[in-house]
Amino acid sequence: MARGENSESHGSGNVPAAPAAGAASASSGKQAPAAARGADGQSVVRRLQSELMALMMGGDPGVSAFPEGDNIFQWVGTIDGSAATAYEGTSYRLALAFPSDYPYKPPKVRFETPCFHPNVDNHGNICLDILQDKWSSAYDVRTILLSIQSLLGEPNNDSPLNTQAAALWANQEEFRKMVEKLYKPA
């Protein structure tokens, strides 16, 4: 069925490497005592801490993320525009909010830096299938950021949120100008 969704952008070659074996044990060392359990899911905390370690150790070029302040459920991510795309040289900030049943449910991801892109609306909302109904518990922050990064260079113009951007895509030169014009790094 012609459901307007972005094609999944990572093949088998792009699968996240398993987080370093030490990650889990490292996080378990940091576990809060049982009394501190309560409002926030410990399971999720453990998972997020492990992801954080993996991200820091992995060193993927052009993507990074870190919890915002003390709240492990709110992260700030950054992605750099890939070379040889209209976004080359740009760097975008994203906000990631994790639900208490993460990783069963996907985090809510939003562009903080204004982004001119066919699949991003004026408020920074992103239309990406793996953040909606194609979500799987096997995905993590790293896969999400890499997916968004590749979405920048390969938009899904069939079901645009920003129709102006979709229309302009054919003309890469003009498109680049618009990207630069609207790009307001924090």
Partner: protein, 1333 residues
């Protein structure tokens, strides 16, 4: 004194030369005198002849007021002394009045004249008619006041009613004016005009020349004008029959009228109407009229000539033939013999008028032969006789062709059966003459001279003779028939197929892959190639139902023997395997056809079921009492009413030695079963207090044992009317006293089967699959339908097969998903993303039987139905095979029977709840104020609630009145409103309050819990209880006990809303409805309310299965290198621990938050999550809910509905997208606006969508099947329709969506039909991936 006045008047009038004023004054006095004087005085004082002579003169010649007074005087005089009418008539009063009316100079005068004529015509209608009053009365119609208009019509009615033949031409003079009145917008005028015309037509019956006269006044055109363009839909219940009766009368004689009816498209109109009324429960009488009209339409065609008719007439026959398919359907599903009979007669007439080539075509489109077989299966002799006649005619028209088709469709076989039956009947009848089983003669139903009193046309031997005659003609053909035609091959294949199924019913196919493949190949061929061309007859004859059930259930195994649990487990697995295979084949759309094999299979089975018409006998208490308004369902049984009962004398059986005899006569209610009587009798007749247990007594009537499952009443009625299918009880039945004998029940064979059952259940517990715990699978594994049924009845296997097919259709997702998981486990599927179900079930309504629905509807019209005149098949169908009955029929059944499960009943008392009796004994303060409306307060109870604290008010209301048998109405404290409005508001407010965030009832509550956040739980997939750990009793300030209380309240509210017909605004999930309906939930239900969790859990489950499979097979072939990672991630790396997702406080095992999920303990984890989500985590809440409903009425009575129907009942028919507001809440962009033609079609389509379509549409466009609270208006972003740019042929494109933005991209299709088709296709495809996408 009056006499003096009259004398004075007489004198004044006598003065011929007197001036007009004097005369007028005298007449005025006369009028007053007449009005106020006693008739006896008048009779003595007045010289009638004198006045009668004078008054017409004044009328005719007088000026100014004089005629008015004269007319009034006549009116008054006849009014007070009707016998004077004749005198006035003699002296020409009528002529004078008529002339005045026609002269039309003065409205006041005209009205007085009308009044006078009204009085006179009441007395002397014939004379008045002859004098042309009828036409005159309508002369000034438009100028009259409303009341006088009615009077004018009344006059005409009086005149034309049953007038003499000779006077008909005169009566016809009124016809043109009456026809004009048909255009009136006033319903009562329309109605009277119609009835006048109807009488005219009845008067003119049989006289073509009169009728032609009637036709000249354009009556046909006007009447058709009223019906045309859906006009019939808005006519009221009196007018429509009037028009139909009128047309029927006209059509019966006037060829001209028939021609113009055909020209005006009467056939199309009839088609529409028949389609409509054949589906509506109360349409049977209208249906009868329509068929009658059809019949009359053919009368002139038949009489006016033979086959060599004008082409015009052939065209008419062609038009009629287009209705044949429809009529055969109506007849096949007709519960009333009269409807069927009429249909057969009509078809007979069409056949008579058609040419052979035409009939061959008709056989192909309408399958006449199959219809005949169906009709021949009816017991009614009139129907059988007529059907035989039709068969004979068909054979006469085209012998070879119809001989073959009769053989194929079973007509031949049926005729043989009838012949044998009739022979039998004749011989037995000589021995014993039965007189009380005479059936209602219908020979003259269609003739308009209903006066004929001749006996029934069908003589004793008529049927036999006819059958033999037809039989003989068969022999002739046989001799010269050579070619082995297609039919032979098909039936051979079908037979072979089922024989093969039967052979392998006991083989365990999983162990023999070759045989398995072979069987599935042949099944595929059968389902997709052979089945569509198989006739119902051949299908039924080849033992299909029996073999299918044997194959698809555990029955064959059980019959063979039951050895040990090991075997049993294997057998159950085998059955499940077969079900999966079969489901897959039956629901797969074969190439080239748009119908799923299961649909065809179900159609055939239903057709076959309709042949066993007699297994479902309707019992009516009397003719003509079927008058219950179908719209008025007495929801509550009025206990005050005396209910009908039978007097039964219980006597000891002759051979019975142990029991004592019972003396008296007992009144037995209609709903009593033998078991209930036993409970009463046993203490009295038992000599020693021994024998425990049930069924200690056996009852019999005249030597025949009474069935324990049927009511005593039903058994009696059926025994007394043996050999009849539908029964009409005559009134003498109630007065008699019946002798029923009893003896001890010696044969105790019950335990043997029950021990087998317990073993089966024990095995079932052990099976991993929890789907098999559902009631449906239970009956499959037990190999029989639940309940006490006669397994030898011809309908049993059919019902069982249908039940199995309905179940596998309903569980197709589960069965198919399970199959997919197995495939993944065994390595046939590599990727977890390929775990998809590719088949979708057929719509539930395809399982509905129109015939059984109609029969139940007919039965429910019986006055005594509520008292317990419920034949056992009704109960049985409603409980075991509810899918055969339409939703509306079941709902009506529920309404009529629910009072028996009210908790005031002795049969089912809940623990510790107050009974209704206590309630009514203690009058409460609210009750007292409504003393004035005593009548209303008998049926309703008022309760005051406060808005501020609505949930507590609701809870106290429910404790107080919850189980009351009366309707509860709500009044808000401090507000004046009362009645429906506030009550509805109350229910919807309460249902909103129960969806608040932070009350811990529903899933999704804790996710959005930011401190102090107000608002409602948003659940796109419906509300489902949030699991609560059995350890902790409070979380985040919410007490579990409070949650349980709220579920109790919800239960009460749901139950009350059901009983009182209130509507709740609460989007409960389907899974929750399933719990309500007593179904078992399993892992496959999780995706329906939490897709993300469900998807992951199912994937984990698949992984567990694969691991197990590998472990098992590695013993044989070690080291198979298969992937056991979760999408290339090690399970440990998911960092999941043993707590409930989203609820870290809920530890699945003690210390679960420290226990990490690994491949080794994944199975335990999955099982625990499923258990916590569906069972142990919600058990307290669910139990509170269920027991609360049970305090009001027995929850299990709802099991005849499915999830969707429950939602329809509880949340109402109307939807959050009220159709008028659609365009306000949808935006149109990119080339569309609200006025674009495709958008108009689109909106129309949306409005016509059923609830399920709407749900699918929402799912498709927004990703969620449900709208947020507030409906479309609160959808954010708004639903937007944009134009889809397409190259090439637009009509080949499909609509597409963007669920993030709620966009639907709609190609500008060329027509609404194409748009609908494409949309439906897209929705269906979208739904296929509903659970896992």
């Amino acid at each position: 004194m009056a006499a003096e006045v009259l004398r004075y008047v007489q004198a004044a009038l006598a003065d011929e030369a007197g001036c007009a004023d004097a005369h007028a004054a005298a007449l005025a006095t006369l009028c007053d005198a007449l009005a106020f004087t006693h008739p006896d005085v008048l009779l003595a004082a007045v010289d009638v002849a004198y006045f009668a002579a004078r008054l017409p003169a004044f009328l005719a010649a007088g000026q100014n007021d004089l005629p008015v007074f004269a007319a009034r005087a006549i009116a008054e005089a006849v009014d007070i002394l009707p016998q004077w009418a004749a005198v006035f008539l003699q002296h020409g009063a009528v002529e004078a009045l008529r002339d005045r009316l026609l002269a039309a100079d003065n409205i006041e005068l005209a009205e007085e004249c009308l009044r006078a004529l009204d009085e006179i015509s009441q007395e002397c209608p014939d004379e008045c008619l002859r004098l042309g009053v009828a036409a005159a009365a309508l002369h000034l119609f438009d100028f009259l006041s409303a009341s006088k208009q009615k009077m004018a019509l009344k006059i005409v009615t009086q005149l034309v009613q049953e007038c003499d033949d000779a006077d008909v031409p005169k009566a016809m003079e009124a016809a043109p004016a009456l026809c004009n009145l048909l255009q009136s917008s006033d319903n009562s005028i329309l109605g009277s005009a119609l009835s006048c015309l109807g009488m005219l037509a009845a008067d003119a019956h049989g006289k073509a020349e009169h009728m032609d006269r009637l036709c000249e006044s354009k009556v046909v055109d006007t009447a058709m004008g009223l019906l045309d363009k859906d006009g019939w839909k808005i006519l009221d219940d009196d007018t429509l029959p009037g028009i139909l009766a009128l047309l029927k009368h006209i059509a019966s004689v006037s060829e001209k009228a028939v021609n113009s009816l055909f020209d005006l498209g009467v056939c199309d109109l009839l088609k529409q109407m028949i389609t409509c009324y054949s589906c509506s429960p109360s349409g049977s009488d209208k249906l009868e009229m329509l068929v009658e009209l059809l019949y009359q339409l053919m009368q002139p065609l038949g009489t006016s000539g033979q086959m060599n008719d004008t082409t015009e007439q052939n065209a008419h026959v062609d038009q009629l033939a287009s209705i044949v398919t429809l009529i055969t359907q109506v007849a096949k599903c007709g519960a009333l013999s009269s409807v069927c009979y009429r249909c057969v007669v009509v078809i007979g007439n069409i056949v008579e008028l058609s040419t052979p080539t035409f009939l061959v075509g008709l056989q192909k489109t309408a399958n006449l032969s199959s219809f005949l077989t169906c009709m021949l299966a009816r017991k009614n002799r009139h129907i059988v006789f007529q059907t035989l006649e039709v068969s004979k005619t068909l054979l006469k028209k085209h012998h070879q062709f119809f001989f073959e088709s009769f053989t194929k469709e079973g007509v031949k076989h049926a005729i043989g059966t009838i012949q044998a039956q009739e022979k039998n009947r004749n011989s037995s009848e000589r021995l014993k003459r039965k007189n009380n089983t005479q059936e209602w003669c219908m020979c003259f139903d269609l003739d308009l001279d209903s006066s004929s009193t001749d006996g029934c046309k069908i003589e004793n031997n008529a049927i036999l003779n006819l059958a033999e005659e037809i039989k003989k003609s068969f022999v002739v053909v046989k001799a010269n028939k050579k070619s082995p035609h297609r039919f032979g091959c098909v039936i051979k294949f079908v037979r072979d197929f089922f024989a093969r199924l039967n052979r392998h019913a006991l083989t365990v196919l999983t162990q023999d892959p070759d045989l398995c493949k072979e069987l599935s190949d042949i099944s595929r061929k059968f389902l997709s190639d052979e089945l569509p061309s198989t006739s119902t007859f051949a299908f039924a004859k080849s033992g299909s139902a029996k073999y299918l059930v044997d194959y698809l259930s555990n029955r064959a195994y059980l019959k063979s023997n039951l050895n040990n649990c090991e075997d049993l487990t294997e057998q159950l697995k085998e059955v499940q395997h077969r079900l999966q295979k079969f489901t897959h084949l039956a629901l797969k759309v074969s190439n080239g056809s748009s119908v799923k094999p299961l649909g065809i299979l179900v159609d055939k089975l239903l057709d076959a079921l309709h042949m066993s018409y007699e297994s479902f006998p309707v019992i009516l208490s009397d003719h003509g009492q079927r008058t219950r308004e179908s719209t008025m369902i007495p929801l509550r049984h009025s206990r005050t009413q005396e209910s009908e009962s039978l007097d039964i004398k219980f006597v000891k059986a002759r051979r019975e030695k142990v029991l004592r005899s019972y003396g008296g006569v007992l009144p037995v209610s209609l709903s009593s079963k033998p078991g209930e009587m036993e409970a009463i009798l046993w203490p009295v007749i038992c000599s020693k207090g021994n024998a425990q247990g049930s069924s200690r007594l056996m009852f019999s009537y005249k030597g025949t044992k009474l069935q324990p499952s049927a009511t005593i009443f039903e058994s009696l009625v059926r025994l007394m009317n043996a050999g009849q299918s539908d029964i009409v009880i005559d009134s003498s039945f109630w007065d008699e006293e019946y002798r029923i004998s009893y003896n001890r029940n010696k044969s105790e064979n019950i335990p043997s089967t029950s021990s087998c059952n317990t073993r089966l259940f024990a095995v079932q517990e052990k099976l991993e699959q929890s789907i098999v715990k559902d009631p449906f699978f239970c009956s499959l594994f037990l190999g029989k339908l639940p309940g006490d049924v006669d397994e030898s009845d011809p309908s049993y296997d059919l019902l069982f097969t249908l039940k199995v097919l309905e179940g596998l259709n309903r569980f197709s997702y589960q069965l198919s998903m399970d199959q997919q998981i197995c495939k993944f486990a065994e390595g046939y599927l590599q990727n977890l993303d390929d775990l998809k179900v590719t088949i979708s079930p057929i719509p539930q309504h395809q399982f509905m039987s129109n015939l059984l629905t109609n029969k139940l509807e007919l039965q429910m019209q019986e006055r005594l139905f509520e008292d317990g005149l419920v034949p056992s098949w009704c109960v049985y169908l409603a409980e075991t095979c509810p899918f055969l009955l339409s939703f509306s029929a079941r709902w009506k059944y529920f309404c009529l029977t629910v009072h028996r499960s009210f908790m005031g009943d002795e049969t089912s008392i809940p623990d510790g709840s107050s009974t209704p009796d206590e309630e009514s004994a203690a009058p409460d303060e609210e009750e007292e104020e409504s003393d004035a409306q005593n009548e209303a307060s008998k049926k309703t109870r008022k309760h005051k609630v406060t808005r501020d604290n609505i949930l507590e008010s609701a809870a106290s209301m429910m404790t107080k009145h919850g189980s009351s048998t009366k309707t509860i109405e709500v009044v808000f404290v401090g507000e004046v409103g009362t009645g429906r409005g506030p009550t509805f508001e109350f229910y919807s407010t309460v249902s909103h309050e129960l969806q608040r965030l932070g009350i811990g009832m529903w899933r999704g509550d804790n996710n959005a819990r930011k401190a102090g956040e107000a608002g409602f739980v948003r659940s796109s997939f419906g509300l489902f209880p949030q699991p609560w750990s059995s350890v902790g009793t409070s979380t985040r300030g919410i007490e579990l006990s409070d949650v349980v209380k709220k579920f109790k309240l919800l239960g009460h509210v749901v139950a009350r809303a059901l009983l009182d017909g209130r509507i709740l605004d609460i989007p409960l999930s389907k899974a929750f409805y399933k719990i309500m309906l007593g179904q078992e939930l399993d892992i496959y239900d999780i995706p329906s309310f939490d897709p993300e969790l469900g998807k992951t859990v199912l994937e984990f489950q698949a992984l567990v299965k694969r691991k197990k499979f590998l472990e098992k097979s590695s013993e044989k072939t070690p080291n198979r290198n298969a992937d056991l990672s979760y999408k290339n991630v090690r399970l440990e790396d998911l960092c999941l621990d043993f707590t409930l997702p989203g609820n870290p406080d809920y530890e699945l095992v003690p210390g679960g938050s420290e226990k990490i999920v690994t491949l080794e303990n994944l199975e335990e984890y999955v099982n625990l999550i499923v258990d916590a989500t569906l069972k142990s985590g919600i058990v307290k809440q669910v139990e509170a809910f269920k027991s609360a409903v049970n305090e009001v009425f027995a929850l299990k009575t709802l099991r005849m509905f499915d999830e969707e129907e429950m939602e329809r009942i509880l949340c109402g028919e109307q939807d959050s997208w009220a159709s008028s507001k659609l365009e306000d809440h949808i935006e149109f962009e990119h080339g569309y606006d609200a006025s674009s033609p495709p958008i108009k079609s689109f909106l129309e389509i949306l409005r016509e969508f059923e609830r399920e379509d709407q749900r699918a549409f929402l799912q498709f466009t927004t990703g969620a099947p449900q709208l947020p609270l507030g409906g479309l208006a609160s959808l954010d972003p708004k639903l937007t329709v944009v134009r889809k740019q397409c190259d090439g042929n637009i009509d080949n494109e499909l609509p597409s969506v963007n669920t993030c933005r709620h966009f639907i991209k709609l190609p500008p299709y060329s027509s609404k039909e194409i748009m609908l088709m494409k949309l439906k296709y897209a929705l269906a495809e979208g739904l296929g991936s509903f659970h896992l996408s």
